[in-house]
């Protein structure tokens, strides 16, 4: 029995010893927003945040995440509505099939938390491990920049 802190809620679970966080999220908790793309930590579709840091959940054993705060795509929007990143992804056509999108949004969220005003180069470098086969990435860079502007403006206002 382990306890996982997911999107602010503590969840107690019976898991197998070598189960990945991805499998636990998807199969035990039905949090299917986190996607399975390659199973070897290369494509970034399974990215979630563990204590604010992006990890490939297909490589991380769930037991390693015990006691840590896990954020998945389901925990990004608030009751008030979509996160600035989610809106910016919609505005900029930053996805098509949407399969890489949860991982992209979480990776971008991690970036903006440590660097609220990243340059294009910094966005490209930070997110280089996330693959999108539909868009040109240019749309995603634009979305991250737009969200960064909005979030900074909001932070200033509050």
């Amino acid at each position: 029995m382990i306890t996982l802190n997911i999107n602010g809620t503590a969840r107690q679970l019976e898991i197998k010893a070598l189960e990945t966080l991805l499998a636990v999220l998807r199969d035990h908790l039905n949090l299917t927003g986190t996607k399975d793309g390659c199973g070897e930590g290369v494509c970034g579709a399974c990215t979630v945040l563990v204590d604010g840091r992006p990890v490939s959940s297909c490589l991380l054993l769930a037991s390693y995440a015990e006691g840590k705060n896990i954020t998945t795509i389901e925990g990004v929007a608030t009751d008030g509505g979509l996160h600035a990143l989610q809106k910016a992804f919609l505005d900029n056509g930053a996805f098509q099939c949407g399969y890489c999108t949860p991982g992209m949004i979480l990776m971008a969220k991690a970036l903006l938390e440590q660097n609220p005003n990243p340059s294009t180069g910094e966005i490209r470098d930070f997110m280089a491990g996330n693959i999108c086969r539909c868009t040109s990435y240019v749309e995603i860079v634009r979305a991250v920049k737009q969200a960064s502007r909005k979030m900074r403006r909001r932070a200033k206002g509050s």
Binding site: T32, L90, C97
Partner: protein
């Protein structure tokens, strides 16, 4: 024409679900009692199956079904054969395996660990056979034969298309300049992030229910009906959101394995391919293209000889169609009096090559657009002007006999050239040198196919669009809603258009979501369905208002009397009145592709191009993209943001194919079938400066003038980049991918 919804970049209908992680894909579905399937694949590129013994695997606790050739006895309940063009594929190998990854057996078990353990218990004895993995070697005398018993696959050629126009010998005699070159492209893979997968079961009525991320739900239904030897209507194919496809999810890929395991286990079975298996399931045709081009001193094209050798892997798949279409457009979008083009679809011991965005055109466009550049240089003519001089224009006859229409090449080429200031060169002489290049392309769609749609008005004032066009990222749901809303005269803001996603029980027939056809074919069907529904509303309103429906107008979702705008009803009010007395549906139907359409509709062409500026490092051979412009003729851009997204995304796959991607084989053995080793374009491989040019030459038969554009950029990208590299450093690279090693070698040999 003033549009209300068409031409507006509204948010995608599937958008909010996707950014919230709520959109459901096949991979997200579960079913009570579901088993997990795994597949035993051949480790050999070519071998005879001497013995397949599954008895130990079947006895393993937790295993519910094992499928092997023993399940397909002659005259048994299942037929093993299927295939897109020829029924050359079998559910599991019967006598031979023909490529690494060919399916030998499959297992369904309570969990993946058990299924994997069962695979290890299957005993297979292979008798290895000589391997042929190169298309030119495969057609040489004495080459190993993949299908020695099939006359139609003799000499490993499963298809040959020939196109002849004029007199090719006379053409070259009349030419002042003749170029002759050979171009090569490697095997690549679609790399849709969602792997192939399916969830299948038989219900209490004996019907086969299958959820799968396919581009061809009705095609899957038909092929499964043939395997199970049952009526198509006994099979229900449901398509959730699809996590990318690009051609790689058409026709049976994994559905038949999930279904046969479900049949044998009498339980639901889910199969999700591992990434390595995706690479071995479908690929893009490697090619060798020999091209000879003749022209007059003034740049007029005279003759084109093309020989296309396309490597289709171990089975025909879509290969014959791919080769056919590529061959027919091997003269490019240019007037060429004398043409001889021969395309050969060749079997080798590699995984099956099928449809991949561009459908055979990128391979041949690399050749013809490199030749255009070489001609321009040889003759001292501007490369844009040379192309424009030779263009097939509105009303001209294409060598296939199709009349050219909605082909905005001249505008597109001028804008592409202008966007990178092609005339202003700034090469430099140092280590790093810059160059510019341009290319265009032409591709046919499959306009002659059929689509049917329904649009329904609901009790709450919303509408439902029944369309089997698969939403795989291209924005089909959104575009169909925009078309329906425009035709009905309803503002999309505040009125929900709910997509009924592809379900062969619920959505009417659609040929397939391929060839960039949906906006045109399904778009017409949806528009007609909306018109049909609108007419029903008008008749109903006319009755209520006691005037002729001719005297009614529709605007902003409201039906009113012409000249007396205050007299009228909103659609919502009309629907409420209807349903207060009657419970029959308010539904309109539309069909595209009937006999009338067959007579009158002009097939549309994908019209596109690319302009690029590169910087070549002469010490390392590395090519950096400084700017890339993708362009396409949209006919009419229904949703410009979606159109731009299609062009830019298409061009990005083009960048991968031009500079990075190659699925490598050594004697038929794949060496980099994983995301770790197969280089895909990443955030760091695309230029910041990446504009899209949309030209709009309306198509007379397209919905509101629109046509497809999702394959308009990719085919032009490799040639544009190769041309830019030549401009920068004076070497012609005629083999993809253009790796630093290839550039450096060419620079050294120069």
């Amino acid at each position: 024409m003033e549009f209300q919804t068409i031409g507006k970049s509204i948010w995608r209908i599937d958008g909010e679900k996707k950014v919230r992680g709520q959109a459901l894909y096949t991979i997200d579905l579960k079913k009570d009692g579901m088993l997990h399937g795994r597949i035993l694949r051949s480790p050999h590129p070519h071998a005879r199956l001497r013995r397949v013994d599954t008895s130990a695997a079947a006895k393993l606790p937790g295993v519910h079904a094992v499928i092997s050739r023993d399940d397909f006895p002659e005259g048994g309940p299942l037929s093993p054969y299927f295939g897109r063009r020829m029924k050359d594929k079998t559910v599991v190998a019967l006598d031979k395996v023909r490529h690494v990854g060919d399916v030998v057996a499959a297992v369904a078990a309570v969990d993946l660990e058990t299924a994997d353990a069962a695979l290890r218990l299957i005993e297979v004895e292979y008798e290895e056979l000589p391997v042929v993995s190169d298309p030119v070697a495969a057609i040489a005398p004495g080459a190993p034969q993949l299908f020695e018993h099939l006359a139609e696959f003799k000499n490993n050629i499963c298809h040959h298309t020939s196109l002849k126009q004029g007199d090719i010998e006379k053409g070259f005699e009349e030419s002042d300049v003749v170029l002759e070159d050979t171009f090569r492209t490697p095997v690549t893979q679609h790399c849709h992030l969602e792997p192939h997968m399916a969830l299948a079961w038989f219900d209490e009525h004996g019907r086969l229910i299958i959820h799968t991320g396919t581009q061809t739900p009705f095609g899957v239904r038909k092929s499964l009906a043939e395997i199970f030897q049952m009526a198509e209507e006994k099979i229900r194919v449901i398509v959730p959101y699809v996590g990318g496809a690009y051609g790689g999810k058409s026709h049976l890929k994994v559905e038949h394995l999930a279904a046969t395991l479900a049949w044998k286990a009498k339980r639901p079975v889910r199969i999700q391919l591992r990434r390595e298996e995706v690479f071995l399931t479908v690929t893009k045709h490697a090619s060798v293209v020999r091209m000879k081009t003749g022209a007059k001193r003034d740049g007029t094209l005279v003759a084109r000889l093309a020989e296309l050798y396309y490597d289709t892997g171990a089975f025909a798949e879509n290969g014959p169609n791919v080769v056919h279409k590529a061959t027919l457009t091997s003269a490019g979008p240019y007037r060429t009096p004398h043409i001889q083009a021969d395309g050969y679809c060749i079997l080798t011991n590699k995984p099956s090559a099928g449809a991949f965005r561009g459908y055979g055109v990128p391979q041949v466009a690399l050749a013809y657009e490199t030749h255009m550049d070489m001609l321009a240089e040889r003759l001292g003519i501007d490369s844009v002007e040379l192309r424009i001089k030779n263009l097939l224009r509105e009303g001209d006859r294409h060598p296939t006999g199709i009349t050219m229409h909605s082909v905005g090449y001249e505008e597109l080429l001028r804008k592409l050239g202008g966007e990178i200031h092609l005339e202003a060169r700034r090469k430099g002489r140092g280590k790093k040198r810059r160059g510019k290049g341009i290319a265009c392309m032409i591709k046919a769609s499959n306009t002659e196919t059929q689509s049917e749609a329904k649009v329904q008005a609901n009790r709450d004032g919303t509408f439902t669009v029944f369309s089997a066009s698969v939403e795989m990222g291209q924005g089909a749901e959104t575009v169909m809603a925009q078309i329906a809303a425009e035709e009905l005269g309803v503002p999309l803001k505040g009125v929900a258009f709910i997509p009924q996603r592809p379900d062969t029980d619920l959505t009417p027939f659609d040929a397939m979501t391929t060839a960039s056809r949906s906006t045109f074919c399904m778009g017409n069907a949806v528009r007609r369905a909306a018109k049909n529904l609108k007419e029903k509303f008008l008749e109903f309103a006319a009755d209520l208002m006691e005037i002729s429906s001719q005297d009614l107008r529709v605007e902003n979702g409201r039906v009113f009397a012409a000249g007396a705008a205050a007299r009228g009803f909103t659609y919502k009010e009309l629907a409420a009145r209807h349903f207060s007395h009657n419970q029959n549906e308010l539904i309109g139907s539309g069909f595209y592709g009937d006999e009338e359409d067959a007579k009158t509709v002009l097939p549309f062409w994908l019209v596109g191009g690319c302009a690029v500026e590169v910087e070549v490092d002469t010490e390392t051979g590395a090519v950096k993209l400084l700017k890339l412009v993708g362009g396409a003729d949209a006919g009419k851009a229904i949703n410009p943001r979606l159109c731009e997204g299609q062009v830019r995304g298409d061009a990005t796959i083009g960048i991968g194919q031009a500079l990075l991607e190659e699925l490598k084989f050594i004697d038929g053995q794949p060496v980099n079938a994983s995301f770790l080793h197969y280089p895909l374009p990443s955030f760091q491989d695309v230029p910041d400066d990446f504009p899209v040019l949309l030209v709009e030459q309306p198509h007379k038969d397209g919905p509101f003038g629109a046509k497809g554009l999702a394959e308009s950029a990719l085919p032009a990208v490799p040639a544009a980049i190769a041309n830019a590299i030549y401009d920068a450093v004076g070497v012609r690279i005629q083999e993809l991918p253009i790796t630093p090693e290839r550039v450096l070698r060419a620079l050294t040999e120069k």
